[in-house]
Symmetry: C2
Subunit: 598 residues, 2 copies
């Protein structure tokens, strides 16, 4: 049975269950109980039901339609993966395409019953739907469980506890800051479900979700106590003892729901974006729940000096790995070895894994050759991997966790001769990457103010990329770290903090010529103070990523003198920092690509 | 008695009255009963009491202090004008300087009584103070009346009624749109106090406030009726008859308060930014008041085709006037005539007044030579006017109302030899003006996204200007027209609409070297659709202002090739549009300044 028939069959089964339960619409979001962005296999029900493998999207099944809502990153991929199934793809961001909320509002009547699994629906999403849609909700209905027979078990590995030399701040100090916030808000406690916030505060790391260094956990911090809920296999006696020293109690993850129902008469802070609507309900009974944003209390997005030091150091290691990889991959292809996207992707991991301090990849490497590069979040499949040739562009978006830092870098590698269109596109995207990298701005500037620097060169010729220009990056934590996001849309629901020294973010404009090639240049940046004048403090960026752009792919005549100057300064920095650690071949390649004298 | 003693005496008198009325803080905002930006002399109480002549600012008098709060435009001027008085200047926008709200919150105790004249305090300002400050308010206390003996009378001139050929849309059609909005909001009526909104909807113009083409008025539009309240001298029988045709009732302005108290049991829409807290109170009794933004219902900031046509045509007239003026002024100075700032300012008006369709100036011309150019909103005084010489920079910010369009343009005129610093600064500001003028952006972009294009060249060398980059401009209406404002601060209280074809706004970066010179380049722009691709609709600007920048003031080596290209295209446009209408001398000057072949 082919994939399309399997999906249609599953939808059919779901419709039967919906009918039995008197449900007219069933929502399957992409989520786990913690509102995580990356979802462990144990929670990939949306993928199972729709066949669409992307990392984000919402499936809404009704009698008449199985509607899959995907954002700009997945417009092409969702079409491809749901081809010949009953799934209709709704491409969010395109004029006239309704949002999930609007869709439900248009399609439902007050008599309808809408069902979903409330453990996997975060409170903020639920409230936004509930606020617009006039229907009844059943939020304790896990219908997929009866269709998805062999749901994978989630991993429950033992956590690691990090030294202050890695984190730069003790768990006690971080908890103290949380308590100051609790007191300021005149509250009793803060309930945390967001895994990266918990790992940050308690200085622990895990590997329960692929590519994320987090452990399944909850935490409840009050003015007097702090309890960390971990999976049973994630800790042992030594963990408990170690946390005793910081006055942190360890408790069982499985008991959290029960524990929540025991809390009464308290004023509790929580972030609705990361709290499931079921848990929100549990806490609402007998307590006053106050909605906050976790990033307002846990400011992990502003890196301390130690975190910045690790970011700088591991950026060199990461660059060495990526440069040696590029050199070696190119020479393999030129020597006639059979190399496909899948091999190219796996091969890169081996270079990073050799680096001291390597922990694991920070996300599944995207390795798209030619037209596959135009699929923004392309996931290569062993069987369908494209053979690499002596020409065209290979887009490689990759990164790793090191013991103290996380990397995320995209370079688009010319494997040989390029078309004029490819070189022009490579250069136009490069202009944006360089301009953003070189931005100087006054204190008070926000990400939305800078976005146009990265997009302008594309907009001027009627092009664009349908994704953000950048995102925050954790320190040995999630590769997408909120709330930072560079984009031009000013979203009242996601207010950006002012750009502040210590923030680490990506600078990743792109251009995707569907069916032909894709280009993305992603450079990790650290926000730093540049100077102070009578007008105030001026900030800018220090590039962390130290991998050069490739000379043969650049149309120098399209660069302005200013852009060429930024490129030269960036290239000089790379030579200075990375050259000493490279092999002879690596040195030769770096020299060629950073030397603009000839 | 010198000015400083007069001010101190007035403050002393106010303190006596405060003491008699048991008032510990008295607030004097800069406002009239309509929340107008430009204030008629009849309402200039803040100026009278503080000696500060700027167009915005708040004075708060207590026993210990007379605190004047001014924004970035007036930091220098307020210092100068209040020198040697008891006034303390609070420079808003500088780190650590409290806002009016914060100041009152810090300085007052719950026992304090804060007084002000509620006719001149808009409801939104009052609510924001009332929401943070724990004290008692007396909002019916006009203490200045007893100090300000000869308060000027306000003008009450007869209104003019505009043809549809000037406005592009009939009064009936505009009222119909208001009614659709009222129905959408499920309300009974809309109360309007903002003068430009009223003039726009009813297609009338007046001259009650200097430089503004508005008439003192109120309006109340319901589902069935529309009443326009005008000053008794502003209309006659023919006005009433003419409005009869549009089913609009004319009533007496003076009766409005009484009328408001008669409205009961209604659901009334109003904009708190333009409704005095006394009127708000009046309407709140027995009605449901719903807060809206007038610009959400009266979209005058998007100009129709006719308004755009007038804007283009009158821009040519305005450019001819300004160019001929520049040529003539320069030649007068070169020929040795004694010319000072005051003459220079008045002289310009005579050129504009000659133009067909001229109505009046759109604001008091700013004409600042050398160090006076650094005072952002410099107002020249006949006695202290600076003599113009054969060197240095003269900043001229001016504009006019024509029968269908309003202009606002700043050019900084080199009167002869310039220092290297002046030329460099002229050029750095020019870069920003050109980059913003040439911006291309996707539908969905807002003003805050574009601001950096104008500021970047300054920020890169640690400089800035402490004012917005641009503002909306009316069509034969207020020269500052909300809600459009180009700035980098993203203000939740003033959300910018998406940039939309038909918007007219200014592009006016500057640089002010205190004590030396000031530079501002202001070009009026019309937002237009540029092209549409698979990525969506792309917008950009058509420059309306057609006055060239002066070649002798530009350091061409500081312009990038891209910027030079924008300058050339802009100059070519000016030649094409304006050359035919110029005198021989004008032609020669324009040719020189727009010809870059040599």
């Amino acid at each position: 049975m082919d994939n399309s028939n399997i999906v249609d069959l599953r939808i059919k089964k779901l419709r039967e269950l919906m009918s039995e339960n008197d449900i007219s619409f069933y929502i399957i979001p992409t989520s786990d109980p913690h509102g995580s962005e990356y979802i462990d296999n144990a929670y990939k029900t949306r993928e199972y039901m729709s066949g669409f493998t992307g990392s984000a999207g919402t499936l809404i099944v009704s009698k008449n339609e199985a509607a899959l809502f995907v954002d700009g990153r997945y417009h092409i991929q969702a079409d491809l993966e749901t081809k010949e199934t009953c799934i209709s793809v709704y491409k969010l961001g395109i004029d006239g395409v309704p949002s999930v909320k609007e869709y439900l509002n248009n399609q439902t009547v007050p008599e309808d019953r809408i069902g979903f699994d409330g453990r996997l629906m975060m409170e903020d999403v639920f409230e936004s739907i509930n606020g617009t849609v006039d229907a009844t909700f059943d939020c304790e209905l896990n219908l997929v469980r009866d269709i998805y027979e062999n749901i994978p078990k989630s991993r429950e590995e033992k956590i690691i506890i990090l030294d202050d030399e890695i984190t730069g701040e003790s768990c006690e100090s971080k908890i103290e800051k949380v308590r100051i916030f609790i007191k300021e808000k005149d509250a009793d406690g803060l309930f945390l479900s967001s895994l990266d916030d918990i790992c940050y505060v308690f200085n622990i790391r895990g590997s329960d979700i692929a590519y994320n260094t987090v452990a399944y956990s909850y935490a409840y911090i009050t003015r007097e106590s702090a309890t960390l809920y971990l999976k049973r296999n994630a800790y042992d006696e030594s963990t408990t003892k170690s946390f005793d020293l910081s006055s942190v109690n360890i408790a069982n993850y499985e008991e959290i729901e029960e524990e929540l129902y025991k809390i009464k008469g308290k004023k509790i802070l929580l972030d609705k974006e990361y709290t499931s609507c079921l848990f929100y309900k549990a806490l609402s009974v007998g307590n006053e729940v106050i909605s906050i944003k976790n990033y307002d209390v846990i400011k992990k997005y502003i890196k301390n000096e130690i975190e910045q030091k690790h970011a700088r150091n591991y950026a060199i290691a990461d660059a060495v790995a990526l440069i040696e990889y590029i050199v070696s991959l190119k020479s393999s292809i030129h020597e006639g070895f059979e190399v496909d996207e899948y091999f190219a992707k796996e091969y890169l991991t081996s270079f990073r894994a050799n680096m001291k301090g390597f922990y694991c990849l920070s996300f599944d490497t995207i390795c798209g050759y030619k037209e596959n590069g135009a699929i923004v979040h392309y996931s290569v499949n062993k069987d369908s991997a494209k053979e690499l040739e002596n020409n065209g562009l290979l887009l490689v978006d990759s990164g790793a966790h090191y013991m103290g830092a996380t990397t995320d870098v995209t370079r688009t590698i010319p494997l040989g001769e390029l078309s004029d269109e490819e070189r022009a596109a490579y250069t136009v995207v490069l202009k944006g990457n360089l301009k953003l990298m070189d931005a100087i701005f006054l204190k008070g500037t926000r990400c939305e103010n800078l976005d146009i620097l990265a997009r302008e060169s594309l907009w001027k010729i009627g092009l664009d990329y349908r994704h953000g220009t950048g995102h925050g990056i954790g320190s040995f934590l999630n590769v997408h770290e909120g709330p930072i996001r560079i984009g031009y849309k000013i979203r009242e629901d996601m207010p950006q903090p002012e750009l502040t020294p210590g923030m680490i973010l990506s600078d990743e404009p792109g251009y995707y010529a569907a069916g032909k090639f894709g280009i993305r240049h992603e450079t990790q940046l650290l926000c730093v103070k540049k100077y102070e004048t009578e007008y105030g403090e001026f900030y800018g960026f220090e590039p962390l990523t130290l991998v050069p752009f490739e000379k043969d792919a650049i149309c120098f005549e399209l660069l302005t003198a200013e852009e060429f100057d930024i490129l030269k300064r960036y290239s000089d920095l790379i030579r200075e920092k990375v050259m000493p650690y490279l092999s002879e071949d690596g040195k030769k390649w770096l020299d060629y690509n950073t030397n603009f004298i000839d």
